[in-house]
C-alpha cells in the first residue's frame, strides 16, 4: 500500500492539508466514544476513500484491521467482568478464572475494536492519499536527515519485497533439499546489506552527506487551491466538532454497570455534521488532475 497520485480532490490538496484532514479524523476517533460517533467517523473515512479513489486499498486495510478489532473485543469480553447483563457463563477458565461474559463488556470491547479499526483506516488513508515527498519537504525544515531516512525506509519496502520474491523463486530452482532457515536468513541479510551499501553510495554522490539548509532565496509559493481551502476548512470543522462533542458530552457512552448511550438531537447533529464536513470537500471535482 503506497501513495500514488490520483485524480481526486484529496490528492489535489497540499500535503499539509491532507495531513491535517487525516489527523482531524483521527482526533475525532480518539475524542468521541459513543458508537454512533465512531460509526460516523468510520463511514466518513470510507466515504473519503471512495471520493479519493482509494476504496480498494482501504478495504484491504480494513480486512487486515478487522481481526485486530475482533481480538480486542474478545479479550475485553473475557477480561472485563463489569456489567450487569450476563449473556454467557463460561465457568472456570485457565488464566481467566471464573468468567462471565456480560453484554456491557462485549459492547465496550466492540467500541474499543471499532476505535482501533478507525485509527488504522485513518493511517491507511494518509498513506495512500498524502504525498510522502511533500511531507518530507515539510519536515525537512526541522530535521532533514531523519525525514529522509524515514522516506528512504518506506521506499525500500517494495524493493526489498521484490528481492524476497526473487530469492524465494531462486530457492525453488535449487535441486535437492531446501536450505535451512538460518542459511536463508544469512543470505537475505547479505542481500539487504548489499542493497543498503548501494543506496548509501547513491545518496553520497547526490550530496546527502553535505546536506545544507536551504538558502534564503525567494520561496516558490504555491497558491492555495479550492481543494486546499475545502479540506483545511473540513479539518478545522471535524476537529471543532470532536472537541465540542467531547466537552459538551453530546454523545455520552457508559458501559458499567449498564449500557448508557442515549442519542439526543445534539448527538445526532454532531454525527451528521461530522459526516457532512468530512465528505463535502469531495463534491467539488474541478481541477483535480495534475
Amino acid at each position: 500500500m503506497t501513495y500514488r497520485r490520483r485524480a481526486s480532490p484529496l490528492h489535489a490538496a497540499r500535503a499539509s492539508v491532507g495531513c491535517a484532514y487525516c489527523a482531524a479524523l483521527a482526533l475525532a476517533t480518539l475524542l468521541l466514544s459513543g458508537p454512533l460517533a465512531l460509526g460516523a467517523v468510520v463511514v466518513s473515512i470510507a466515504g473519503a476513500a471512495v471520493g479519493a479513489g482509494v476504496a480498494r486499498e482501504l478495504r484491504r486495510a480494513a480486512l487486515l484491521a478487522l481481526p485486530l478489532g475482533l481480538l480486542i473485543m474478545a479479550v475485553n469480553m473475557l477480561v472485563a467482568q463489569g456489567g450487569l447483563t450476563v449473556i454467557a457463563r463460561l465457568g472456570h477458565l485457565p488464566v481467566f478464572g471464573q468468567t462471565d461474559v456480560t453484554l456491557e463488556a462485549t459492547v465496550y470491547g466492540a467500541v474499543l475494536g471499532l476505535r482501533a479499526i478507525a485509527l488504522i483506516l485513518c493511517g491507511a488513508l494518509y498513506t495512500v492519499a498524502v504525498d510522502p515527498d511533500e511531507v518530507l519537504a515539510l519536515f525537512r525544515r526541522f530535521s532533514f536527515h531523519s525525514a529522509l531516512t524515514a522516506t528512504l525506509a518506506t521506499r525500500m519496502v517494495p524493493v526489498l519485497a521484490r528481492d524476497a520474491r526473487r530469492l524465494a523463486e531462486a530457492q525453488r530452482c535449487r535441486p535437492g533439499p531446501p536450505p535451512s532457515r538460518a542459511q536463508l536468513m544469512r543470505a537475505t541479510t547479505s542481500g539487504v546489506l548489499d542493497r543498503a551499501l548501494d543506496v548509501a553510495a547513491a545518496l553520497e554522490v547526490r550530496g546527502y552527506g553535505a546536506a545544507r539548509r536551504p538558502s534564503h532565496g525567494r520561496r516558490v509559493r504555491r497558491p492555495w487551491s479550492r481543494h486546499d481551502f475545502a479540506f483545511a476548512a473540513s479539518a478545522v470543522a471535524i476537529g471543532g466538532l470532536a472537541v465540542a462533542g467531547r466537552v459538551a458530552d453530546l454523545l455520552p457512552f457508559q458501559s458499567n454497570p449498564s449500557l448508557y448511550a442515549p442519542v439526543g438531537v445534539g448527538g445526532a447533529a454532531v454525527a451528521a455534521a461530522l459526516l457532512l464536513c468530512a465528505l463535502l470537500p469531495f463534491a467539488d471535482r474541478r481541477g483535480i488532475e495534475r
Binding site: R174, G176, R212, R290
Partner: protein, 536 residues
Amino acid sequence: MSVLALEHVTYSYPGASAPAIADVSLEIGPGELVVLAGGSGSGKSTLLRAANGLVPHFHGGVFAGRATVAGMDTREHGPGALAAAVGTLFQDPETQVVMGTVRAELALPLENQGEAPAAVARAVEEAALALGIAHLLDRPTAELSGGELQRVALGAALAGRPKLILLDEPTSQLDPVAGDELIALLRRLNEDFDAAIVIAEHRLERCLGFADRAIAMRGGRVVCDAAPAEFLAWACDAAPELATPGARLVSGLGLAPVAGVKAARSTLRSRGLLPDVDPFARGASDRRDRNPRRRAEESALTLDRVWHEIDRGPAILRGVSLRIAPGERVALMGRNGAGKSTLLRHAAGLMRPTRGKTRSSGRVALLLQNPTDYLVHERIAQEASPRALATVGLGDPALANRHPRDLSGGEKQRLALAIVLDDPERQAAVVCLDEPTRGMDRRRKDELAALLCELDAAVLVATHDPEFVAAFAHRVVLLGEGAVIADGSPTQILARGTYFATETARILGGAGGALVPDEGVAVISSFRTAEAQVSA
C-alpha cells in the same frame, strides 16, 4: 583547465592484496566524451569512484597520488562537496532512486546543495525537459520501468548542471531499446550541455561511434588512451576482446578499423567491398542452418498452446506452442514485456499455465537473472558438488574455500549454473537461462557460450544480446506480445533485422547471412573472388 585530472593515482580497497587502480594519470577536458573500456575487474568502476570522491571517503582503503575535480582535490573534498561538480550514474537503477516521486528525486541533489526553492523548481523543470521525462514528474518512482528509472537517475545527476558526468555501465541492467535511448540521450546532452562525460561500458559498439576518446584499462592500469579509431586499431592487435565486431570485420579485411556501423559501411563501400546480396535470395545459403537435432522425433520440452493470463490483468503468454529437441540450443528474443521470462518460468514449472500444457522429458533447470539469489552458503564447495563445479569451470581446489559472494559477476553466474545443474539423481533434460549476459564483458560471454555448447541438455536462453545468440544458438524464437512471431535459424532471424541483428549483419545488410566478423570476412572474400572471376 581540465575537469578531471588524476596524477599517479593508486588505490587499494581495505584488506585487498593488490591495488584496484595503479599509477593512473589522465586528464579530461571540458565537454569531452570519453569511453572507459576494459574487462570486469580492470579498474573502471574504481576509477570512476576515485573521480566522484567515493574512493577513498566512502570505501576507505589506501589512496596515493592526487585527483582533482573542477579544481577540488578529492582528498580534501568528500563526495557530498564534489556532488556540485560531478554527477554520477551507477548500474542498478533500483538502488539509485531514493525518493517517492520523480519530481522529488530530481530536486534532492539541489536541496542537498542548499539551493533556494525557486532555483530547485527551475532546475527540476529543465532537467525533466532535457531528458524527456516531464510527463513522469508526478509519477511514483516505484511504478517506473528500468529504463525510466535510469533516466530519472540521470536527471538527478544532471539537475545541478555538473561539469563532469560519470556513468558506470549505465545500460547493463536495461534492455537494448532503453540502453540505446539512454546512449542517444547522452550524446545529445553532451552536445547541448558543456559537461564532460566519462562512460564505462562493455558494449563499446554502442558508444564508440560518437566518443572523442577511449581509455582502456587492464589490471588497474591505463593501457591505451587514444581517439576511437586508434583505440580500435590497438584493440584489434593487443586486446581483441575490446574490439567491436565492426572493427574486427574491417580489420579482418586488412583495413584500418573504424568506430560505428555507418563508418564501417562507408569504409567498405568506398572500397567496393559492400556486397549487394539479398541474404534470402533463391540459392543463398543459410550459414547457420547447423541444427542437426531440429528434426528429431523426441522432444526435451514441449509447450502446447500455453496461455498465462493475470487475474484482472493482461495475458502475458498467448497460446505459445514450442518444441525443443534434446541437445538443441534455442535463444528466446523479444523486447521487454514480450513474455520471455514468464515462458522460462512455465518451462521450469514455477508457474502453471492458465490454459495449455507444458511437458518435459526430465528435470528442467532454471537460472534466473540474479545469480546471487542462489548463493546461501559460506563456502563455494558447499554450494555444489565437485563434479558440478568442474562442469562450469570452477573445479579449482583453490576456489573451494572462498565465499561465493566474493566471486566476480561471471564466476557467480557459473556457480549458480552449477547449483541448478547439480542433481546426481536427475540430470537436467533442459537448461533455461534468463538474461545470463547482463553486465558481462565479452570474454565472459564467450566463455559462457562455450560452456552452453558443451552441455548435453537442451538449452533455452532468454536474451537481448544478438552477438551472444550468434555464438551459441541453433535456433532463435522471437516473442512479441506473448506470442511467437518468428522461429528460425539465427541467420534467418538475425541477418535481416536492424534491432534483432548483430553488428556484422547490420554493416553488411545481412549479405551472405554473415552474423559474426569471421563470417563477414569470408562472405566479402568470396564476393571479391566471384567478381574477379566475372571480370576475368
